[in-house]
């Protein structure tokens, strides 16, 4: 269970999704999804593979268009934004990809400096270096500065992926399967890092996962996605303290594993 008390401001909504629909051909992935994320809150979206969890955060970050519905992020309707406004909004959103998506041809240092350099053209090289060193230290991987992504372990790649988003000091973090493919100890490290990021950078976050340990450790609110809609939202206990056999089977399966 999450122990540290986050500083959540329930008066301020940073992500407000209403009646969201998204289909790919005849595959109706999201069917009228509603979700609210408050300032400083970590919301975990739980669900089986292929239920549209990643599609949801791709719509929030503007990588995909919704078919229908409202997606308001930091007071702006994402689907209505033009290219420039969307880019401005994205500077405030950090996206940690499932496979980290580090740039293969760049070293860790270059990977981290890249978004900052592109978004703040007149930053001096000493300030850039300091920012890179600071985020590397925050994720506990200072020694990897000159290494290539191919030389890193899965857990290290995840951490660098998170560090690359932190360098822009985002207000919102979107984590896509942060513990997928990691051993339990490394998963615990990543879960702790997600909580640390929330505390240290005062971020709000949506964490996409099907790992209940991750959900329990990092989530202030859990939202269970089933058949294109959230069937239950609330604290971990609220969600799993139910007679619903589908939710129960999800819980049992995770803990038997």
């Amino acid at each position: 269970m999450k122990t540290a008390k986050p500083n959540i401001n329930y008066d301020e909504i940073v992500i407000d999704i209403k009646g969201l629909y998204k289909s790919f051909g005849s595959n109706h992935v999201l069917q009228g999804v509603d979700l609210q994320v408050h300032q400083g809150e970590n919301v975990v979206v739980l669900g089986r593979s292929g239920t549209g969890k990643s599609v949801l955060i791709k719509i929030i970050s503007g990588l995909l268009y919704p078919d229908q519905g409202k997606v308001n992020v930091l007071g702006q309707e994402v689907p209505d934004l033009d290219e420039y406004a969307l880019r401005d909004l994205r500077r405030q959103i950090g996206f940690s990809f499932q496979n980290s998506a580090l740039y293969d041809s760049m070293t860790v240092g270059e990977n981290l400096a890249f978004p900052l350099k592109r978004n703040t053209r007149h930053l001096s090289s000493s300030k850039l270096r300091k920012s890179v060193e600071a985020v590397l230290e925050a994720v506990g991987l200072s020694q990897t500065l000159h290494q290539l992504p191919s030389e890193l372990s899965g857990g290290q790649r995840k951490r660098i992926g998170i560090a690359r988003t932190l360098i822009m000091q985002p207000k919102i973090m979107l984590y896509d399967e942060p513990t997928a493919g990691l051993d339990p100890i490394t998963s615990t490290d990543i879960n702790n890092l997600i909580n640390e990021v929330q505390q240290r950078y005062s971020t709000s976050a949506i964490i996409i996962t099907h790992d209940l340990t991750c959900a329990k450790t990092t989530g202030d609110k859990i939202a269970m996605l089933l058949n294109g809609n959230f069937v239950k939202q609330g604290s971990f206990q609220d969600v799993f303290n139910t007679e619903d056999p589908v939710i129960h089977s999800f819980y049992d399966y995770n803990f038997i594993q």
């Binding site: 289909s23 051909g25 005849s26 791709k58 970050s61 503007g62 990588l63 995909l64 268009y65 969307l86 880019r87 401005d88 994205r90 500077r91 959103i93 996206f95 990809f97 499932q98 496979n99 998506a101 580090l102 740039y103 293969d104 890249f114 978004p115 592109r118 978004n119 053209r121 690359r164 988003t165 822009m168």
Partner: protein, 264 residues
């Protein structure tokens, strides 16, 4: 949000015919996006120079070898026919016309289609399937400008340079054969070679090389940018980039030759 990757929900005519027209439409959008982005600031100078180096310098060894052998072999094969009429002294001008007008642009383009086109297709394809392009997008970076515009510009600039170099190397190959058989000096060879070459010949070849360079990079970028289906998609992007750009190079060759002949 990428508007170049639209798909209809249900087939309008049939799936294959629909796909053909959709691809044409997507290619049109892709090219339009290039011309829109190319004039927008800021210009990615560092990446452009890096790409020029990658495309130009790294192709140099292959171009040198192929250009030299082309000149040498072409001269060797032409010699017996000319010798029948006692006209071996025409070899330098014959070879120079063939190299400058046709062989240099075509050989350079085909080599670049194989080497540069496939590498662009594979690189962008791999970046697409590993979500590196999406990662740029969500980091508020314009990946099209950074990846596509720089590669297309660099290839369009570098291929004409490589073409001029191939022409020069090809002439050297030809000179070697002429020198070994007729003991012609390099000065006499090049004097005879350039006697029949006009500015139009050279200009037309430059134009061809610019068009070929643009085609190679555009096809490579389009295939890589729209790659899917994991690693299989990366291989397919690289392969299709080479095949399609070679096809277009031959089509463009025919069209440009017809247009140039009109001015000759």
């Amino acid at each position: 949000m990428d508007s170049t990757n639209w798909q209809p929900e249900k087939p309008v005519i049939s799936k294959k015919i629909d796909q053909f027209f959709i691809t044409i439409y997507q290619v049109f959008l892709f090219i339009r996006k290039f011309f829109r982005e190319v004039f927008r600031m800021p210009f990615e100078r560092g990446e452009f120079i890096r790409q020029c180096y990658q495309i130009g310098y790294r192709s140099l060894a292959l171009i040198t070898l192929t250009g030299f052998i082309t000149g040498l072999v072409f001269t060797k094969q032409s010699r017996p026919s000319l010798a029948e009429f006692g006209a071996t002294s025409w070899l330098p001008s014959l070879v120079s016309i063939a190299i400058i007008r046709a062989l240099a642009p075509l050989v350079t383009a085909l080599i670049c289609a194989g080497k540069v086109g496939s590498s662009i297709g594979a690189e962008l394809g791999s970046m697409r399937v590993t979500e590196q392009i999406d990662a740029m997008e969500v980091s508020a970076i314009n990946p099209f400008k950074f990846l596509v515009v720089t590669r297309v510009l660099a290839t369009t600039v570098v291929v004409p340079m490589l073409m001029a170099y191939t022409g020069f190397i090809g002439m050297l190959g030809s000179f070697l054969d002429v020198h070994l058989n007729e003991a012609t000096s390099i000065q006499t060879f090049f004097q005879a070679a350039f006697e029949k070459i006009s500015f139009l010949d050279f200009g037309a070849s430059m134009l061809k090389a610019i068009v070929y360079g643009f085609t190679i990079a555009m096809v490579g970028c389009y295939q890589g940018w729209n790659a899917n289906q994991g690693t299989q998609g990366v291989g397919k992007a690289a392969n299709v980039a080479v095949v399609v750009s070679m096809f277009f190079i031959f089509i463009e060759e025919i069209i440009i030759v017809q247009v140039i002949n009109f001015f000759r």
